[in-house]
């Protein structure tokens, strides 16, 4: 004979769909978070993402969004489960089951569900991450640095998320069994949410809050730094909060009131009213989907923005080959290079070279006070700069410029306006050998991409006489040679470029084994003040000639050459880990979006079966029923999809614009690539929406358009 446990087992079997839904939701949440964190904490990725760098912060920010999204999703799945359980629990209680009996059974079930699904998700998360990463290596790019390794500490974060999922399920379970009003428990399943009035101003005010939050959140750290001369603390991100509130208000307005003024309110009355009576659930889900879509696009835009922008910059270089070296190095000569080229069948044209002097510049530098605050300090020897004479500049660039005595010009890239770059900051130059100084002032900006490819190495042009005066008796170690040349059929010269790249490294001494941000003048100043120069102590400044194939070396070597064919061909492999990390993040976020949307749509089918039966009895045609289902399913995917996409695209444009108060042509090309990504991802979401619509129609016994058309044709 059956006992209470067996009765529960029989009910579980009958209602396995509800159990499966909860198990799957928990499993997917933990799986995605574990996969994400496995990659995020992987030494492969951490080695590439500098600590405190923007890329790491961005990846962490999206991770936080994913955690919030998946957490909210698990909670939603649990609430659906308890909603389903309420009827049977209410009946048990009505027939005299004690709270103890119900607790025992319920908690036994919850233990099995939560521990089983979370453990499976946590165990399979890392293999999933590994599989996706290997797929990237197989299909997109494979470099030495792409070899994936995992940090066991990642499992701590995955375990913490699993624990949250389990604990929240048990807390909800405890609250569920604590209720005493049996009639409320029995009726829970068919209870509608009380509708809270959504005023007509919700939508417009929501839009204002979104704009204010987006703009305010972005600007707040800059404002904080300016106002308080201190680094912006983490809490400054609270200024983004109005964005979330605004988003919620806009979604509420969209779901409950709609935007169409004067539209026939009876047209979509069923779909709208059904969504309205589940307003909170619907909007909560939509908010999570919107935020995740925005996060997914933020990550997805990284690769096209980076690669297409860089490709354009490489294409726009005025010469095919350029490199620079310290003149105290035993570097390849012009004849060595021409010989190497001829052996490779490469014809060199337009050879140009010129000396540049590394001089000390005065200026103010930011000094960290150690308590989150900073101040600016003037130094006579603040940093180094590459100075070139006016005639050599004209020779190298083909331009014809004239610099007045006592003045200097700064060389910027074609895209940089330089309105606030360096004017007025330098007033004194120092010969680092003789300590002789020269007072100068800013004259103008010049544009030449080959002398403005780095954020750390700046070129300046001096009047010929001034250059000769200040560079007099300068030792070779403070001189650099800049070499530029073109080749015929540049894209056919990859082998030559590779060999030249290796030879340049082989001819460079250990004193040149430094990153681009290593400043020799800064080091002299620091050492002079009895301090250690950070570049000598920080692990960030360590690079090694043996890692010449690594992206870190290629990106940061102070004397990295600029070879069009090499840079173009190796672009993806140079940035492989960066690019693939963000593609991975995007894939995870999109996967979460699709799963959450799908689950939400299935619950529409599960909860509204009776409504559709009633509508059928009231004479609704298959077309009417189909339109009503479509009206709801399309909103679940469409509204968050539209808002999330628009929000992130506008936010991206804003970031790019406020970087230098303009959108450069390479940024415009990047944005165009982002639009292609949007089209691609929207197509995927649309395809998934169609599959979901078909599934939901099937569950509600509503015929799809295809079935209706087939029937009509047969008729």
């Amino acid at each position: 004979m059956k006992n209470f446990g067996e009765i529960n087992a029989a009910l579980r079997q009958k209602n396995h769909k509800n159990y499966t839904l909860l198990v799957l939701c928990n499993f997917v949440s933990v799986l995605l978070i574990t996969a994400y964190v496995s990659i995020m904490r992987s030494p492969t990725v951490l080695m590439i993402l500098p600590e405190g760098g923007d890329s790491r912060k961005q990846a962490m920010m999206i991770f936080a969004l994913a955690v919030v999204g998946c957490g909210a999703f698990s909670t939603y799945a649990a609430s659906l489960f308890f909603r389903y359980k309420s009827r049977e629990t209410g009946i048990f209680m009505a027939l005299g089951a004690s709270r103890k009996q119900i607790c025992k059974q319920l908690f036994r079930e919850l233990s099995a569900i939560s521990i089983g699904s979370c453990a499976a998700g946590a165990l399979l998360g890392t293999p999933l991450a590994w599989c996706v990463w290997q797929l990237f290596r197989l299909l997109v790019v494979d470099t030495q640095e792409m070899a994936l390794s995992f940090d066991p500490h990642a499992y701590l974060i995955a375990a913490a998320f699993s624990l949250y999922t389990i604990v929240s399920l048990f807390i909800m379970g405890t609250r569920f069994v604590k209720r005493t009003n049996i009639i409320d428990i029995v009726n829970e399943q068919r209870k509608s949410e009380p509708i809270r009035d959504v005023k007509p101003w919700f939508g417009p005010i929501g839009i204002v809050l979104i704009i204010a939050g987006g703009f305010g959140g972005y600007m707040a750290p800059h404002a904080y730094m300016k106002l308080f001369s201190a680094y912006a603390p983490a809490w400054i991100n609270i200024f983004y909060f109005p964005l979330i509130v605004g988003l919620y208000m806009v979604l509420l307005h969209t779901v409950i009131r709609g935007w169409g003024k004067g539209k026939n309110r009876y047209k979509n009355i069923i779909a709208r009213s059904m969504m309205k009576f589940q307003g909170r659930q619907t909007v909560n889900n939509m908010l999570v989907i919107t935020v995740l879509i925005a996060g997914a696009y933020f990550a997805a835009f990284y690769t096209p923005m980076t690669s297409s922008g860089m490709l354009q910059i490489i294409d726009q270089r005025p010469v095919d080959y350029a490199f620079r070296y310290r003149e105290d190095q035993n570097m390849l000569t012009q004849s060595d290079i021409e010989k190497m080229a001829s052996e490779k069948g490469v014809a060199i044209t337009d050879w140009r070279d010129a000396d540049t002097a590394i001089l000390g510049r005065d200026g103010k530098s930011e000094v960290n006070d150690g308590n989150g605050k900073f101040h600016y300090e003037y130094n006579k020897l603040n940093s180094e700069g590459n100075y070139i004479s006016q005639s050599n500049y004209n020779k190298m660039t083909g331009q014809n410029i004239n610099i007045e005595p006592g003045k200097f010009a700064m060389v910027l890239s074609d895209e940089t306006s330089g309105s606030d770059m360096d004017q007025g900051f330098t007033s004194l130059l120092t010969n680092m050998t003789t300590q002789k100084t020269l007072s100068v002032s800013f004259q103008k900006n010049l544009h030449y991409n080959m002398m403005a490819s780095s954020n750390f190495i700046h070129y300046f042009v001096l009047n010929d006489a001034d250059y000769a005066t200040i560079a007099e008796s300068l030792k070779n170690e403070w001189y650099e040679k800049m070499v530029c040349f073109n080749v015929k059929n540049v894209m056919q010269t990859y082998d030559f470029s590779k060999e030249l790249y290796n030879s340049i490294i082989d001819h460079s001494g250990p004193e040149c084994e430094i990153p681009e941000y290593y400043d020799r003048v800064g080091k002299i100043t620091a050492n002079g003040a009895g301090e250690a120069y950070w570049g000598d102590t920080s692990s960030l400044s360590k690079i090694n000639y043996n890692d010449r194939g690594s992206s870190q070396f290629k990106q940061s070597w102070k004397y990295a050459p600029q070879f069009r064919v090499l840079d173009k061909n190796d672009l993806i492999s140079t940035y492989a880990v960066y690019l693939m990390l963000f593609v991975f993040i995007s894939v995870i976020c999109f996967a979460a979006v699709l799963v959450i949307g799908y689950t939400r749509c299935l619950t529409i089918a599960l909860n509204n079966h009776q409504v559709y039966d009633d509508l059928r009895h009231l004479g609704a045609t298959p077309k009417y029923l189909h339109n009503s289902v479509r009206g709801q399913i399309s909103k679940v995917f469409g509204i968050p999809g539209f808002i999330g996409t628009l929000l992130m695209f506008v936010f991206y444009v804003m970031i790019l614009y406020f970087n230098d108060n303009s959108i450069t042509s390479s940024e415009a090309v990047g944005l165009r690539s982002c639009l292609y990504v949007i089209i691609g991802m929207s197509a995927v979401i649309w395809g998934f929406y169609r599959v979901t619509l078909h599934k939901v129609c099937g569950m509600l016994n509503v015929k799809s358009f295809k079935e209706m058309t087939t029937e009509n044709n047969a008729g």
Binding site: M1, I7, K14, E88, A94, G96, S98, I183, V186
Partner: protein
Amino acid sequence: MLQVKDLHKSYKTGKTIYEVLKGVDLSVAQGEFVAVMGPSGSGKTTLLNCISCYIPFDGGQITLGGQELKDLTEDSLAKVRNKKLGFVFQDFMLLDGLSVLDNILLPRIIGGDTSKVMEQRGNELCEMFGISQIKNKYPAEISGGEKQRTAVARALINEPLMILADEPTGNLDSKSSRAVISSFEEARNKLSATIFMVTHDSFAASFCDRVIILKDGAVYCTLEKKRGEERGVFQDKLLSAIKEMSGELA
């Protein structure tokens, strides 16, 4: 058997408080078949839910078999519901995942009984209410009348002091309604069951020994069927009383 004294119950919706029961007094004797009638909103179902201990009440006293319900702990209340009360609901409240027989046995299983005797008792009840042939079917496979007879059998499985029925014929056609009422009569006659039924249906109520009519949360009047009085005559009396209460005879 059952005594209700000065029962008060109110609901709060937003800032508004609705007083649904305003001091109800009534009593039901052992073996009686009593109906409660009244217009919508008169407090019938609330009264039943309070007696069932499904919802807490604000004031007054409910005594069942000499036991005061208000002071009981959660566990004791569960025992009262399990052993002393049987329930029949308008929408049957059968569990779809269990067979008819399992549904009938459920109160006993909840009470910890898994004996053969229990199964035997379940089969007897199936027999009594004419549902033996469907005892292995699931609720989704049987008619509304059969579902309600299953619910009546379930209510009787623990031989409770009293059966509480909330609109048991509300979702049924006349034939099925008649069968359910017959089940109650049979339970009363063969098993000496006490039945307390809330209903809108004057036909169903006319089978009762006594009908209590509620109006605005208080007992408006009580009609008792005289010994030997015909059911039809009693139903006419009921209808007249209801008309009088709603002012139609004035």
